[in-house]
Amino acid sequence: MSLLFNTEWGYLEGITRGFKNGMLKHSDYLALTQCESLEDVMMNIQGTDYGNIFSNDRKFSVELIEKRLGEKLLNEFNYIRAHSTDPLSSFLEYIRYPYMIDNVALLIAGLNNNRPMKRLLEMCHPLGYFDQLAAIEVAMSSVELFNAVLIDTPLAKFIPPNFHEETFIEIDVEIVRGVLYRSYLESFYAFCKGLGGTTSNVMCKLLGFEADRRVITITVNALPTHLTAEDRLKMYPTCGNLPDLALRTLSEVSEYDRVRDVCNFAGYGDMFDNIERDTDGLIGLEDRFLMVEAKNNVQSYLQQFHYGIFYSYVKLKQLESRNIIWICECISQRQTDNVNAYIPIPLD
């Protein structure tokens, strides 16, 4: 497998490892947290592997920095994608599907709120662009969106058979997103399992954690709402490490402490413990999941000749981008006491 892997994808693995080695280290984060203005941050970023991404910009803002960081990742991903062959190219498409789902959810929400399609398309994530997205411009309502486009798009395979046009109006867009995402995650898991070898081992572990995280996060977020157990179960991916009994129990709990008890039993109790950091209680459940996710993605680089490094690179790079934006927000809001509350990526 190693020999075959290098023949087809060795170059791309090398390139991706090079990209990963250029990610920000602890010393880079230290320098960024000591900046006093956004201009300082931009100058520091240009001294890293990001390079001269702000050369043509004069007005400095957090949105601009976020945009340029996203463009850098997009260029790198498109380069890898353009040089890949199957099944890696299918694997890379799976990495893009969540962004497509987010874009579709944005279009549904926007159309339901009578937003102009042109404006909505500008807000879409570039990693989630697909050919038919341009044709979506003709859709004036979410019913037309369903009929005219989604059936023939890459997301068609994730739409459950009981979904119809009116679903997009009747059901909360977050539930639509949750159902699509569940379908995507299970499909991705099955695809990686089918690949076998190290890719299967690495990716099934990463995706299993993602599935469990989705279950727990959806449960916690749904606690103060009137979502039924059936609605929650529709969104719970089943490819994780949580057993079916835990999923059924979580779909019915109505108190935070009960969620904690079930997660203790399933091995995720540490997520609910307090972490002592001087951050005014900013660290929450999501942050703990992000920390574990970062650690798991860094560990995927300990093995060679598998596709997991491509997935991990995109995840780590996005987390890095979010960390930089957090630092920028703290600096622009003059709240530098909390600037160190970014999610650490253990690359050093």
């Binding site: 807000m123 959806i218 979502l227 900013l282 929450g284 999501e286 957090w326 999610i343």
Partner: protein, 174 residues
């Protein structure tokens, strides 16, 4: 603190001297009241500034936690779909003028009173966004307090002006 009352303009005489003295005492009380109100205003502005800073930081935290998994808020803000506001501002008569009161209605989806954060952002709102929403609601309460303090301050200043004018007409206060 004694309530400021309108000074009475009397003809000169012993009664005038005592009413003038009362008016001067009243003027002193009003000045002292202004200083207390200025102090209250400074404290309230500081608290409001702290609360809005915390709320903005939590919103930034939501962006860090959710990343690209959240839909742009601009797409989700409802347009052309009227819904009833949970908060209403009413003006009521107070001891020194009109005061603003914030009335909050209970959440009743059957009657069109929706919880704004779930109505706009969907059913699965992250807990940090709910915390930010509560902080912003608290900010609205603090803004109402600031506005009332400002109104009381202005009413007190107007009372002082009236009192000074009437005292100067009596030829006492320059």
């Amino acid at each position: 603190m004694s309530e400021p009352t309108e000074p009475s303009i009397e003809a000169s005489g012993p009664e005038t001297i005592s009413s003038t003295e009362e008016a001067c005492c009243l003027l002193d009380s009003l000045h002292l009241h202004i200083y207390h109100l200025l102090e209250d205003q400074a404290v309230q502005n500081h608290q409001l500034s702290r609360e809005t800073s915390k709320a903005r930081l939590i919103l930034a935290r939501v962006r860090l936690q959710e990343g690209n998994q959240r839909t742009s808020a601009e797409a989700q803000l409802p347009r052309y779909r009227p819904f009833k506001a949970l908060c209403r501002l009413v003006e009521e008569a107070g001891p020194w003028g009109t005061i603003i009161k914030l009335i909050r209605s209970a959440v009743e989806p059957n009657r069109g009173y929706f919880q704004p954060v779930t109505f706009i952002f969907g059913a699965l709102v992250p807990s940090s966004l709910r915390v930010a929403s509560r902080k912003w609601e608290h900010c609205v309460d603090q803004i109402v307090d600031c506005a009332n303090t400002q109104r009381e301050l202005q009413a007190t200043m107007v009372s002082i002006r009236h009192l000074r004018r009437s005292l100067s007409l009596q030829g006492v206060h320059k």
